[in-house]
């Protein structure tokens, strides 16, 4: 697999086209809406997180950007939905996921993202070798982190 193909895996291009969680839901009782921007390329995301008790009840988003940033947001929503089920993922777990995701992406290819933990988002492992693209992949995750802080 060439460098480029490991960066743009099929799964990534798919998620970039069929974006999970795209379109902001109406705000709930305990929700926060966060806007994040990558000043270098102009990518932006608006993400809304709804918290119920200590659970992440829903995450929806809107935004424009490169396929990495779009796929990463979509994969994040998919991961939360799959792992959290109907009740939603415990807030602490989501925070932990974000932290390990960041660590892996900043590792310059040293720490892979395992599929067990990150589901489809594991396909973003290849990004960590492209330091200029790490911010693209982090955009939605940073927005969620900020949202959880506010909600």
């Amino acid at each position: 697999m060439s460098g480029l193909e490991s960066l743009y895996q099929e799964l990534i291009l798919d998620h970039a086209k069929n974006r999970r969680g795209f379109g902001l839901a109406d705000p709930g009782a305990h929700s926060a809406t966060v806007h994040q921007r990558n000043p270098v390329c102009g990518d932006e995301i608006t993400l809304r997180v709804d918290v119920e008790g200590d659970r992440v009840a829903s995450v929806t988003w809107e935004g424009a950007g490169c396929s990495i940033s779009q796929a990463s947001a979509s994969m994040l929503v998919a991961l939360l939905q799959e792992d959290g089920g109907d009740e939603g993922m415990p807030r602490a777990d989501a925070e932990a996921l974000i932290a390990s995701f960041r660590e892996a992406l900043r590792s310059r290819g040293k720490i892979p993202l395992d599929e067990e933990t990150f589901a489809d988002a594991a396909a973003l492992s290849g990004v960590s070798k492209y330091t200029a693209r790490v911010k693209c992949a982090m955009l939605a995750w940073v927005a969620l982190e900020e949202g959880l802080r506010q909600a």
Binding site: G3, L4, Y8, L13, V40, C41, G42, D43, C66
Partner: protein, 413 residues
């Protein structure tokens, strides 16, 4: 001695062009952002630092005298490059610093007040926009904009309406760093002179590609950056007419620009020293002079013809690829070999990444011209910009790579 133009010989002067990216030879089409540096420039700077380095304009020792001479000779050389006298050439750390100097100094001088107007264009680089916004905000002046037409040229009818008796400053770029279009300097100068407004030219993107005669251009002040004309980072120049510079107070202050300093007050030297506070980028000035001397060795008419050929090939090639939208696609203006475009359905960042995997280095993003991108309904574009060392074959490699983008990302034509 003028060398006949031979692109292979030119290329051999640039060590970095031998680099490989991902197994592909580097095709550097990002000279609009920063140019690569020929060996003559690297050698000149190193030679200076190994042989003659010392603080200039200070002290009587031999090294200092030698350094001062090389530094001031550099000023003469770079001034000549733009048709000017050395006393009219102020060293700056770059074009952005030069524009801030002008806007800041006009502000300190109280030359703008409420009701006054500053006119820029919609195509400006942020460096020739935000300093004027800040100046306007601080003085109560109003900032106005000459719109860009759909083909990328300036709306000169609007310009004629906008530039009026309240106009104090007209600041515009010589060549847009997104559109590659050469603006009608003489016409803008005529409009500005008609109302007694000061003209400020951003020559960043013209200096590497066009023969400049700043005094003859009619503008009052102009800036450019060394790192875009095959010279070092950290240096640039502000050129100004004698009487215009004379009337400006210093923007930054410190050593080497004064005559008498007491604890309470300082008196300043005449231009250019008045604007050169602190230790100057001495080795960079020497290296920038080497850059323009290196450039001047070539048959520049032939070089410009070569670049014009590249421009045409690039633009026509892009036009023939399905799903490409060019910014400023017009034959109705002079141009340099720099072209921004959008690939429909694929984000600029992804296009750039794909091209990089073929060794082709382009710039993606807003290129510090957000308002212009917004005007064309986009947030980011891809920009390819050629230099004197770019070959036809490189343009073809670039075009070939662009043709593959939509297929790779699964966007149907």
């Amino acid at each position: 001695m003028t060398l006949p133009f031979d692109v292979d010989a030119v290329r051999a002067d640039f060590p970095i062009l031998e680099t490989e990216v991902d197994g592909h030879p580097l095709v550097y089409l990002d000279s609009g952002a920063t140019s690569q540096k020929p060996r003559a420039v690297l050698d000149a700077e190193r030679d200076f630092l190994e042989r003659a380095n010392a603080a200039v304009h200070r002290g009587a020792h031999t090294l200092a005298a030698e350094a001062t001479e090389l530094f001031e000779d550099a000023r003469v050389t770079v001034a000549e490059f733009v048709g000017a006298e050395p006393e009219q050439l102020v060293w700056t750390s770059g074009a952005t610093a030069g524009l801030n100097l002008v806007a800041g100094s006009l502000g300190y001088a109280g030359r703008l007040r409420e009701g006054d107007e500053i006119v820029v264009t919609e195509a400006e680089h942020h460096a020739n926009l935000i300093p004027w916004q800040e100046l306007a905000a601080r003085t109560g002046a109003r900032l106005r904009h000459i719109p860009v037409l759909d083909d990328g040229t300036l709306d000169m009818h609007a310009a004629a309406d906008l530039i009026g008796e309240r106009t104090r400053v007209v600041a515009f770029t010589h060549v847009s760093n997104v559109l590659g279009i050469v603006n009608p300097v003489a016409k803008l100068v005529t409009l500005a002179r008609g109302v007694g407004a000061l003209t400020v030219l951003d020559a960043c993107q013209s200096a590497p590609h066009l023969a400049l005669d700043l005094p003859a251009s009619g503008v009052d002040l102009a800036v450019f950056s060394g790192h875009k004309i095959y010279g070092p980072y950290g240096i640039g120049a502000l050129w100004g007419r004698d009487e215009v510079l004379e009337a400006l107070p210093p923007f930054t202050t410190g050593g080497s620009m004064i005559t008498t300093v007491t604890l309470d007050k300082a008196e300043y030297l005449p231009p250019p020293q008045r604007f050169e506070a602190g230790t100057q980028p001495v080795s960079q000035a020497v290296a920038l002079a080497a850059a323009v001397r290196w450039l001047g060795q070539h048959d520049l008419e032939a070089a410009h013809a070569h670049e014009a050929m590249l421009e045409k090939r690039m633009r026509e090639g892009l036009r023939s690829i399905p799903g490409i939208r060019l910014l400023g696609d017009t034959d109705a203006a002079d141009r340099v070999a720099l072209q921004a475009f959008e690939v429909e359905g694929v984000h600029a960042h992804d296009v750039g990444q794909f091209l990089d995997s073929r060794g082709v280095a382009v710039r993606v993003g807003h290129h510090c011209a957000q308002p212009l991108h917004r005007r064309f309904g986009m947030t980011a574009s891809v920009r390819a910009s050629a230099a004197i060392h770019t070959t036809e074959a490189e343009v073809d490699t670039f075009l070939d790579a662009v043709s593959g983008v939509r297929g790779f990302f699964g966007v149907s034509a």
